[in-house]
């Protein structure tokens, strides 16, 4: 039986993957952030790596000596407006705040958050669609990235799993996180029943 801690697509393995995209370099990305005074939006659909990118960005900026705070909102966050206001209010002014999931905020809260965040060293948000802050970078998924990630998670079965992975990729409209959930299910369904 493939158990949760032997399934190659378990969440701890997915979350340990580093951000990647064709043509992406950390040097260019961090330069873009610095050029824009660490103010702007990372835009992309679900499952294209925004959170992965932001968590790694937090670490890399912190390694340069910047103070960085990371806040996360999603559909399951209760009262996201209240959470966001608290995060912004509690962030010290010499800090770069990364607010992941800014699309969860209504227009009024967004205006308050934006106004209050002016005092911060930087304010980077992620959203699904452009318009809230100037777009600094767009995340998008592609089959080449999926194949690379699949090769890292499950190298021994890469060729046999690839056709199903492509099917899932198309069904999930490019949401790579959901592709891995479906591959997780494939693994549990093909394993034998426990005795």
């Amino acid at each position: 039986m493939v158990t949760a801690d032997t399934n190659p697509f378990r969440v701890s393995r997915i979350e340990s993957l580093a951000y990647r995209a064709p043509g992406f370099t950390w040097e260019a990305f961090l330069n873009t952030l610095a050029t824009h005074q660490y103010r702007g939006a990372i835009v992309g659909p679900h499952g294209t790596g925004k959170t992965t990118l932001m968590l790694e960005t937090q670490e890399r900026l912190a390694a340069t000596g910047l103070a960085v705070t990371y806040g996360f909102l999603n559909e399951e966050t209760p009262r996201p407006g209240r959470v966001a206001r608290r995060i912004v209010r509690d962030t010290p002014k010499d800090t770069v705040l990364i607010l992941d999931g800014a699309e969860q905020l209504d227009a009024l809260t967004w205006r308050w958050v934006c106004w209050t965040a002016r005092r911060l060293r930087g304010f980077i948000v992620t959203t699904h669609t452009p318009g809230r802050l100037p777009t600094l970078y767009r995340t998008q998924s592609c089959q080449a990235t999926l194949r690379e990630l699949l090769g890292e998670l499950n190298p021994e079965d890469l060729e046999s799993r690839w056709p199903r992975a492509r099917e899932h990729f198309n069904q999930n409209k490019g949401n790579i996180r959901d592709v891995f959930f479906d591959l997780y299910d494939d693994c549990t369904q093909t394993s034998g029943k426990a005795d």
């Binding site: 039986m1 493939v2 158990t3 949760a4 801690d5 399934n7 697509f9 378990r10 969440v11 701890s12 979350e15 959930f181 997780y184 299910d185 549990t188 394993s191 029943k193 426990a194």
Partner: protein
């Protein structure tokens, strides 16, 4: 760099409510900015990962090396279990500098002799 965690009990045969103790020892290249020892459980499998920190002890950060004993009481719940969709594990972790240096000791906590194994349901 050398980090070690030793438990005086068998880490695979712990029961809820049990008091456990052991020794933590570290020898880093520099004095850490942050150091902690924590008892926690976490889930792995499909979907979001859940984590519950039961107790966390702050460790001194004045020297690059150190050694000390610790003692935790394992709570009554949750039990360790292993299934196809999700698994729940207990662990003790010695963490320096927000996870840049980590030593983890996995534990199995169960009121029975073995970890709970969830069976597949058709």
């Amino acid at each position: 760099m050398n980090i070690s965690l030793q438990l005086n009990q068998d880490p695979t045969g712990l029961v809820p409510g049990q008091v456990i103790d052991g020794v933590a020892e570290w020898d880093l290249e520099d004095a850490p900015k942050r150091a902690a020892l924590r008892l926690f459980w976490y889930t792995d499998g499909r979907g979001t990962q859940d984590v519950g920190v039961v107790e966390e002890l702050a460790l001194p950060t004045t020297h690059r090396n150190g050694k000390g004993t610790f003692r935790f009481t394992i709570p009554t719940l949750p039990y360790s279990f292993q299934g196809q969709l999700i698994t729940l594990k207990w662990a003790i972790e010695l963490v320096f500098n927000k996870g840049k240096q980590v030593e983890r000791l996995d534990l199995i906590v169960s009121p029975w002799v073995e970890q709970v194994k969830l069976q597949k349901v058709d």
